[in-house]
Subunit: 266 residues, 4 copies
């Protein structure tokens, strides 16, 4: 296997499909969001991407069956005839950071493939590492073209999540969430990256929920968030316990202040 | 040498050959098992695989003769006309873990080559690292397709070794033992991986013997295990001495318990 | 993206253009010099170079717009009809040192590209790391062909900067500043490398100014250095403060000498 | 530059030329030997090898002239009409150990090139690291084919240097000195590797002399060793001083023994 290869099981006719990416990364935010979307939409798998740039191993799945590391393509056909269809990609891994050229090669293969189905718009999902969190995770947005800021802001009006746009330059988006937009731009595609604030060290279903709320608002989809919300509650519980532990540790170091209220943050 | 290359010395006609892999790895289990199989069957070498992904050196063999690092292909023709033939691969090294794409390239070349001889079934052999061992090493099995679990379990009925099949997913098989199955699946091949439990830090002939007992049961072969058993006895002796040393060290740390029996394990 | 790729927006007719390189490196000297040159000449961007050997990320620019890492080509047409034109390259990064072959590939693409516009002469700009500095940074020069030493020395007569030429061999020029000359020589091009002495750990506008004074002398250009001089003054102020801090530290370690004058150097 | 490339300045007609390699390695033994041979034979340079697998830099040579890292091919025509000619390769570096495939690629290019001139026999020269040395460095020999042991032993009869041949397998020859033989074998070439014992941390002209005495014996050449012997004397002087320092350090640690003689070794 000299290059990444895509095994195609079906070639559905798709209507102006939007390509949504959710691969493993910070807090597994993108992957959780993609898996929930696939589950709720009953999206159908239609292709597997294998790559010599993935780890040289097989995973042991249920019942002792082995599989190479891979990324998976799913499609969803909008029941509304005038609506747009969706292609979602998720999977076992991204190319490791030690193999930059391999990362470009894999993302190039993804874009060439979804281009065959008429994809023009790309939405990438992931986590954005922050040192502390207060309340619901916000979503940081970035686009391929400046005119899209207003476009997506209009689409996001009324969204229950805080979507942040920055004026000053600074920072980077590493991996597929960034490369898909950067390389997509060179193929005349366009799109937006939505990264949920995350502490990074936990499986962050809260951040995934925030990101998915923004995505579904943009696409005009109604999505049952229950399963993700349950995972999110587990996440909140873990965060709360960590917060208590931290406070207890601090109190051992400092004299207690009178009436120290629960600030509700880490 | 831009790609791995196979030098073919002979092109035997083989009957539905099974491809058995035993390359260097944990405890050298796979390699020991393959070398013993080759020796007992008097298998004939018919090809060498060289690769730019192997170490950039030559080994000094007997009588000051140098050789590039390589993998070797052997064949065995079944004296039973209705029986199946065997191709075995063993060798000096696998591709190092720092060169994942190189690993895929080499395994791809192996599969393309054995495909020319009609190989459809693959059996990979290796070690499975465990922190401690009790009694005979068990063999962990994994397959390319779910329906093969039952198939191999039937073939293994009566095997003197414990072959373990797992229901839950988890873990991975790194290197050729895994890649041959994962990539073989993409070439419409099928097979099983048999990994013998091993502590990993010794040349583990006991684990090699366990694996080979499972392999020969599957293939319906009778194999004289004497040479391997002698190596296995040496292994047991080493293990026993290590165990005594460990017990002595523990006793220095704890008060001795009355009548401490020899539990026979590390 | 398997190879580096250049997106060309315009193909200007250029007259015997000299190719000037100023990419990120020691003290950012080359990049600062190139950016100032582009700004003062009002050079026009006409191509972008993208590469799978650059970092696998996008940068977040103003207004949340993302861009792949890239190098940029600018041209300037000399208002004097008998004068020579200029192509300048600057950008976000060079290929990281862990990917030597990638560095050769990218520089090869740059040379092939500028060759299409008739480039024969190359001037590379960068920093040269020194442990301490006294007064204005000098500029170390090196050429592709021995006969060019005298040629550039004549061109530099009267230059306000000290340009140093060495007789003894020793040292190396790492990265694009060196490779462009070395590989350019193989394409029958010629040129000079001008490296400004720099402590390396600061954004060194003083060194950039020294290098640009040498470049403009060679090209017979008048350049307004004000903006760079202002940055250079900031650099001097930083250097002076570091010097004071160092002197204070030394005094704490040694008994003070009577009448210790300000030697004005680090 | 995607592949290594050889710039050829002349294509001499050579008579059954032997290819002698002396590239940088342990103790710089091979390179010193090659450079001395080139100097004494007045060998003529006829080709340069450049490679993207060499370091991404240029070296600064005399008079500020820069050059890419390279390997150089020299030829010598034997004044004896029935004698054999010689091709020698030496240079700035070998491919670094982190780039194994690159090493194979470069050596492959070397072999393809010298094959064009009818090379069949290869002699590689280098250092063999030992922890201590006594007297003159011996030379360890290894060959491509078993029948060559006797062949080279006969050629070496009367050689003033101790050439060692081993019966047991073990060890490896890393880099070009090994790869040229291993890969040469696959191209139906044959040859011998001659490695001089060296402590490794000094520029070892003594070991280079030992190796060259063996090479010239094999080729039936008379070579003036004066220049190398002078360098060798410098090496001996350094070794003797190191030995004195070591003895002094040991004496400080142990009570002095009566009448401790000069054992003359490290």
């Amino acid at each position: 296997m000299k290059e990444s290869v895509i095994h195609v099981y079906e070639r559905p006719e798709l209507r102006d499909p939007v390509f949504i990416e959710g691969l493993p990364g910070i807090g597994l935010v993108g992957k959780l969001a993609a898996e929930h979307l696939i589950q709720e939409l009953n999206a159908v798998k239609f292709a597997d991407l294998y790559s010599p740039h993935f780890m040289h191993q097989v995973l042991i799945k249920k019942n002792s069956v082995v599989e190479l590391m891979k990324n998976e393509f799913y499609y969803w056909k909008n029941p509304d005839e005038n609506g747009r269809d969706i292609i979602i990609i998720t999977g076992d891994q991204q190319v490791p950071p030690t193999d930059s050229p391999g990362h470009f090669e894999v993302v190039g293969k993804m874009l060439d493939f979804v281009n065959e189905f008429g994809v023009r718009e790309i939405i990438t999902m992931g986590g954005y590492q922050v040192p502390e969190l207060q309340g619901e995770p916000r979503v940081l947005a970035a686009v391929t073209h400046e005119e899209l800021v207003e476009y997506y802001q209009r689409k996001l009006e009324g969204c229950s999540v805080d979507v942040i746009w920055r004026e000053d330059e600074g920072g980077a988006i590493v991996g597929a969430a960034g490369l898909l937009l950067g390389m997509g731009k060179l193929r005349s595609m366009y799109g937006v990256s939505l990264l949920g604030e995350s502490l990074g060290y936990i499986v962050d279903a809260k951040a995934a929920k925030s990101v998915l709320l923004a995505v579904t608002k943009i696409l005009g989809l109604e999505l049952d968030m229950t399963a993700l919300e349950e995972r999110a509650k587990e996440t909140e519980e873990i965060l709360r316990k960590v917060q208590e532990m931290q406070r207890a540790m601090l109190e051992q170091q400092m004299p207690p202040a009178p009436e120290e209220e629960d600030r509700g943050y880490l």
